[in-house]
């Protein structure tokens, strides 16, 4: 599932479509949002570096962490130091978001961090329109070829919401998505800093919404500690045709980074939650499923040595009522009298494939790009 998110960010958008947008949502109970954001960011940069993505570069809008953090992160994830400068541009909204540093005397005799050419400082985050035009300006560096696009990562949408109103932030995301220079947009938000309607509004302007939920019910310190290492990722994917797909996965954080693990009862859980409440069972239990598999269908060929018979309506008629003029096709073998003595027709049914259950929810044309 995390792979499908990475793929969407990598593949970008089609001409005339809005760019895919991912919003990751976490809370104090499951504070792994920044790690998940870092995972998708590093993944996308490595895809850009390998030339596999639609985007030819990434603009990081840094509101929550310093630009040097992201450069260190990517170097730690295996991207070469020199190439980091080639593939990313950082819009620094972290060190001086309100321009206070211009109003005070700068620090003297204090070693300052080296500012790279890839970092552009923005000192008025309250001006969302200016921020939008600056993102485009910074991203222009990647647009060497025709129809080239770049991706945008906003490390904390919650910070933007502190400086600007919800409509202007939602407008920013919409404008980024509809731009013909942008291939994908993703960002992180902390759900418990906002009213539920804010999260819902941002979910509407995104095509993928990944929500981190704690595992189990709230409890003791062990539960709290576990939440710093494990979480459940609920993802809502919105298809182009309007269909909403719900997926769920578990993630584990260790020294190496984040690992996504499929939940064994994933389909059962999701299907269960989607089913309407009715008074009869729509689902089979495991025992019922086994019993059903044991039932021998009356018309199914049992592979017990008997010749396979293909139904022919005329031949199933009693011998006496047969049309004397009828000539049997040569391809059909003559049937001994004993086998048809019952005088009844037989239907031999061989199922096409056992791979897929008859009620499978999978859309066979899902990957078609029509």
């Amino acid at each position: 599932m995390a792979d499908s998110i990475s793929r969407s960010l990598r593949d970008g958008c089609l001409e005339g479509e809005h760019a895919p947008a991912l919003i990751i949502e976490d809370s104090l109970a499951t504070p792994l949002g920044p790690s998940v954001f870092d995972h998708f960011l590093a993944n996308l940069v490595s895809q850009i570096a390998a030339g596999k993505s639609q985007a030819s570069g990434l603009v990081i809008v840094a509101l929550n962490r310093s630009p040097s953090f992201y450069i260190d992160l990517l170097v730690r994830k295996g991207v070469e130091t020199l190439l980091v400068d080639k593939w990313i541009q950082i819009l620094d909204c972290y060190l001086d978001p309100l321009g206070w540093k211009n109003q005070v005397q700068p620090l003297e005799n204090v070693q300052k961090p080296i500012m790279k050419e890839t970092v552009v400082v923005f000192r008025n985050v309250r001006d969302i329109n200016k921020l939008l035009s600056l993102i485009h300006e910074v991203g222009k560096g990647f647009l060497g070829q025709d129809k080239a696009r770049f991706a945008v990562a906003i490390d904390l949408v919650s910070s933007l919401l502190r400086y600007a109103s919800l409509p202007s932030v939602a407008g920013l995301l919409n404008n980024l998505r509809s731009s013909d220079q942008i291939s994908s947009v993703f960002g992180l938000m902390h759900s418990d800093l906002h009213e539920p309607r804010v999260c819902m509004a941002l979910a509407y302007v995104s095509s993928m919404f990944a929500s981190l939920q704690p595992i189990g019910s709230p409890g003791n310190l062990q539960w709290l500690e576990k939440n710093y290492q494990k979480a459940r990722l609920h993802v809502r994917l919105k298809r182009r045709n309007g269909r909403v797909k719900l997926l769920e996965e578990e993630l584990h954080l260790d020294q190496a980074g984040i690992k996504f693990v499929a939940i064994a009862s994933e389909n059962a859980y999701v299907n269960k939650s989607l089913l309407p409440k009715v008074q009869f069972n729509l689902q089979l239990s495991d025992q019922e499923r086994v019993d059903r598999a044991k039932v021998i269908l009356p018309y199914e060929h049992q592979d017990n040595g008997e010749a396979i018979q293909i139904y022919d309506g005329r031949r199933s008629l009693p011998e006496t009522r047969r049309d004397p003029q009828l000539v049997l096709p040569l391809a059909v073998p003559a049937i001994p009298e004993t086998e048809t003595s019952s005088g009844k027709g037989e239907i031999h049914y061989i199922r096409d494939s056992d791979d897929e259950r008859p009620d499978s929810d999978e859309d066979p044309d899902d990957d078609l790009d029509i």
Binding site: P31, W100, V110, H190, E225, Q255
Partner: protein, 265 residues
């Protein structure tokens, strides 16, 4: 070297916070969250003493909104640390904000509050600059704020301005070798709107230290319990693991004892 300033043997608190014998901290921002029944002021005293210890070679910028200098001087003197001496040596920069009150917005312009906070930020910068100009310059600088709720009162309840100011203090920790320790109270926020300041502070911090009374009630030998949530920060060798610690404490005149439940007789 003044023997009274030699760093104490690492205790449970220092171990939980990942503090070694030096003055540097593996985290940038720590939030002390206390309540009326169990004050967290002793933790600020502990951080103050630790940062000024001789081996730490650190400096402290202390924003005092709760008490005057004489109060901290008396408390720290009993703990074996002379604050007056440290202030004369330029290791402690005590910013007295007892009477801090920013002009009400509208009287002197729309951004009066913001101008007030920029002035306060400038004071911190000048103190940091003075610390780095010391003879034995170098070492870790700790910025301690006692406490954020009074800052909020001085700002006439404007949470967004307080958060902007704290954001700028936090950025200093990315630019320089310094850490930020702030104290706030858990039980003074009732409505959902107001609790957002605490949540913001929680997100801003790398370490949260909560002081709570004992669940079993008042005890003579145990004054409360600490819950430390170390969120884990990126280090040079990768990510350190997150850890939640819980232990009890007893506040004494010359320091604090930390111990696991049931280990004190």
């Amino acid at each position: 070297m003044n023997p009274s300033l030699s760093p104490s043997v690492p205790n449970l608190l220092d171990e939980a916070l990942g503090l070694g014998r030096g003055g540097s901290a593996p985290w940038r921002v720590a939030l002390v969250q206390d309540c009326v029944e169990t004050s967290g002021a002793f933790l600020l005293h502990h951080f103050l003493k630790r940062a000024l210890s001789a081996e730490g070679a650190g400096a402290v910028v202390f924003l005092a909104l709760a008490h005057p200098f004489s109060h901290y001087d008396r408390v720290l003197r009993k703990m074996g640390c002379n604050l007056s001496l440290q202030r004369n040596k330029n290791k402690l920069h005590f910013i007295d904000l007892l009477n801090l009150e920013f002009p009400v917005a509208g009287q002197t312009g729309q951004n009066a509050l913001e101008v007030g906070f920029i002035g306060l930020y400038n004071k911190i910068l000048r103190s940091v600059e003075a610390s780095s100009l010391r003879d034995d310059k170098g070492g870790w600088i700790s910025i301690i704020i006692d406490d954020v709720s009074l800052l909020e009162i001085a700002a006439h309840g404007s949470v967004s301005h307080v958060l902007d100011f704290l954001q700028y203090c936090t950025t200093l920790t990315s630019e320089l070798d310094c850490s930020l320790v702030v104290l706030n109270h858990e039980d003074i926020y009732s409505s959902e709107e107001e609790i957002r300041l605490l949540s913001h502070l929680d997100y801003l911090s790398d370490v949260v230290i909560k002081t709570e009374p004992l669940a079993t009630g008042i005890a003579a030998d145990v004054h409360g319990q600490l819950t430390i949530i170390n969120k884990g920060v990126f280090t040079e060798c990768g990510r350190s693991m997150n850890k939640v610690h819980n232990f009890q404490f007893k506040v004494k005149d010359n320091g604090v004892d930390f111990f696991y439940p049931g280990s004190q007789f």
